[in-house]
């Protein structure tokens, strides 16, 4: 309509005044620069250039994500249908700043704690967090008994949360997250979903935390001669992995595609069919459960 076109004209002129590239006005209005493929595609259509220059990622992180890609998609890039989880986006962040606070204690098995800062600028408002883990890379320089059980202690360093539900920082969160370092594993994942959920949901743009954990040898292990107090010093700071569900229209919604072969947007009469389908599903579901009860 004239009004909306007028508005669009207003925003485009104001945007242009602010020096934004005209092609960037084509971005989906999800509150932050369009994520992923869309903005570079618009840019190519507009001025023929590819993606913006990029910082090079950590090689170990890139190796992990390539391994994840092979597990999730075919060679042609089609998502494998044998996956049940709902996330259609996985983001890996390496800390933009980190330093060791102390050298740890080999007697008690306390490992050197690390002060880490992760920037979450690339997470868009339409991406909802489903799971997050700290990813430790083990290389063969690390020597330790075949199995270690560890307790993780996480301290979120600063406040600045936008919603009231979170306590004022620094707030500490001691995990009973038992996990095992095993010789043959190259990576160890420490689940931090419970801690990061409110931060990501409140659109926090960076997360500052210190992580340390204390490890003990697995008691089941028979003590043997070559066992000695282990010196497990992790050579590299952990990466942060976020498993997200991108709710935008461009993202692939697996559960949706499995349920309804075609989306209502492609054929409007489908809505009647869909609502009939869902009513029928409820009805049959009801019958099924009553049959179960009987």
């Amino acid at each position: 309509s004239q009004a909306s076109r007028g508005d669009a004209h207003l925003t485009s002129s104001s945007e242009l005044e602010s020096g934004a590239e005209p092609w960037s006005l084509l971005q989906p209005l999800d509150g932050r620069g369009g994520s992923g493929l869309l903005s570079p595609l618009f840019k190519v259509l507009y001025d023929g250039q590819g993606g913006a220059p990029r910082l090079q990622p950590d090689s170990r992180a890139l190796r992990y994500m390539k391994r994840l890609y092979k597990a999730y998609a075919t060679k042609e890039g089609i998502p494998k249908s044998n996956r049940s989880h709902l996330y259609n986006t996985v983001r890996l962040f390496t800390p933009c700043a980190q330093h060791k606070q102390d050298s740890g204690d080999q007697v008690t098995g306390a490992l050197p704690s690390m002060d880490l800062l992760f920037s979450l600028d690339r997470v868009t408002a339409v991406e909802h967090l489903l799971k997050s883990v700290l990813l430790y890379t083990l290389n063969n320089t690390v020597s330790f008994p075949s199995t270690l059980k560890c307790l993780c202690n996480l301290v979120i360093k600063e406040s600045g949360f936008s919603n009231r539900t979170l306590p004022r920082a620094p707030y500490s969160f001691t995990f009973n997250s038992q996990f095992e370092f095993r010789k043959k594993h190259k990576w160890v994942e420490v689940d931090v979903t419970a801690l990061l959920q409110p931060l990501v949901a409140s659109n926090k743009r960076s997360i500052h935390m210190s992580v340390d954990f204390t490890c003990v040898k697995d008691q089941l292990q028979q003590p043997s001669a070559q066992d000695h107090p282990f010196n497990l010093t992790l050579p590299t700071p952990p990466s942060l992995l976020l498993y997200l569900n991108d709710t935008s229209a461009q993202a692939y919604h697996r559960w949706y595609s499995l349920h309804y072969k075609r989306r209502p947007s492609q054929c409007p009469h489908q809505k009647r069919v869909l609502s009939a389908y869902s009513r029928e599903e409820e009805a049959s579901g009801g019958v099924r459960s009553s049959r179960h009860r009987r």
């Binding site: 992923g36 990622p57 890039g77 089609i78 998502p79 986006t89 692939y252």
Partner: protein
């Protein structure tokens, strides 16, 4: 009329070199009918391989070809398609003929390096055409 008819009868009905099956083909299956075509590209051709890590090859496919006049159910086309064809042929040729376009798609998983150096695995809807239709 028998005399005039009989002389006509002596003329060969169809030229000797005429092939009946070709003759009927033009009605049943138009030449270069609307169908799916491959287009395999690698992101290095677009100079995107510095930020798209996987997949290495991408075949978005596309639909090309003529739509039969009596398109019917063959392409899953609505009746509107035939109506549009009749308008084009009988009433107003500025109204375009039905076009050969994708009807269904497959998603695509992409592994990209973001401007800040983080790495993203994302699954995008509607990135590979899998079926064509006339609309």
């Amino acid at each position: 009329d028998w005399e005039t008819g009989s002389s006509d009868l002596k003329k060969p009905l169809v030229p000797a070199s005429f092939n009946l099956s070709d003759y009927f083909k033009q009605f049943l299956f138009p030449q270069n009918e609307c169908e799916l075509h491959d287009f395999r590209l690698s992101f290095s051709q677009l100079k995107w391989d510095n930020w798209i890590v996987a997949p290495h090859r991408y075949n978005p496919r596309y639909c090309k070809g003529d739509c039969p006049r009596a398109v019917g159910h063959r392409y899953g086309s609505p009746v509107h398609t035939m109506v549009q064809n009749i308008i084009y042929e009988k009433l107003d040729s500025s109204v375009p003929k039905p076009s050969c376009v994708p009807a269904k798609y497959n998603p695509l998983s992409v592994l990209t390096i973001e401007p800040d150096g983080s790495i993203a695995y994302k699954e995008y809807e509607d990135m590979i055409a899998t079926k064509c239709t006339c609309r």
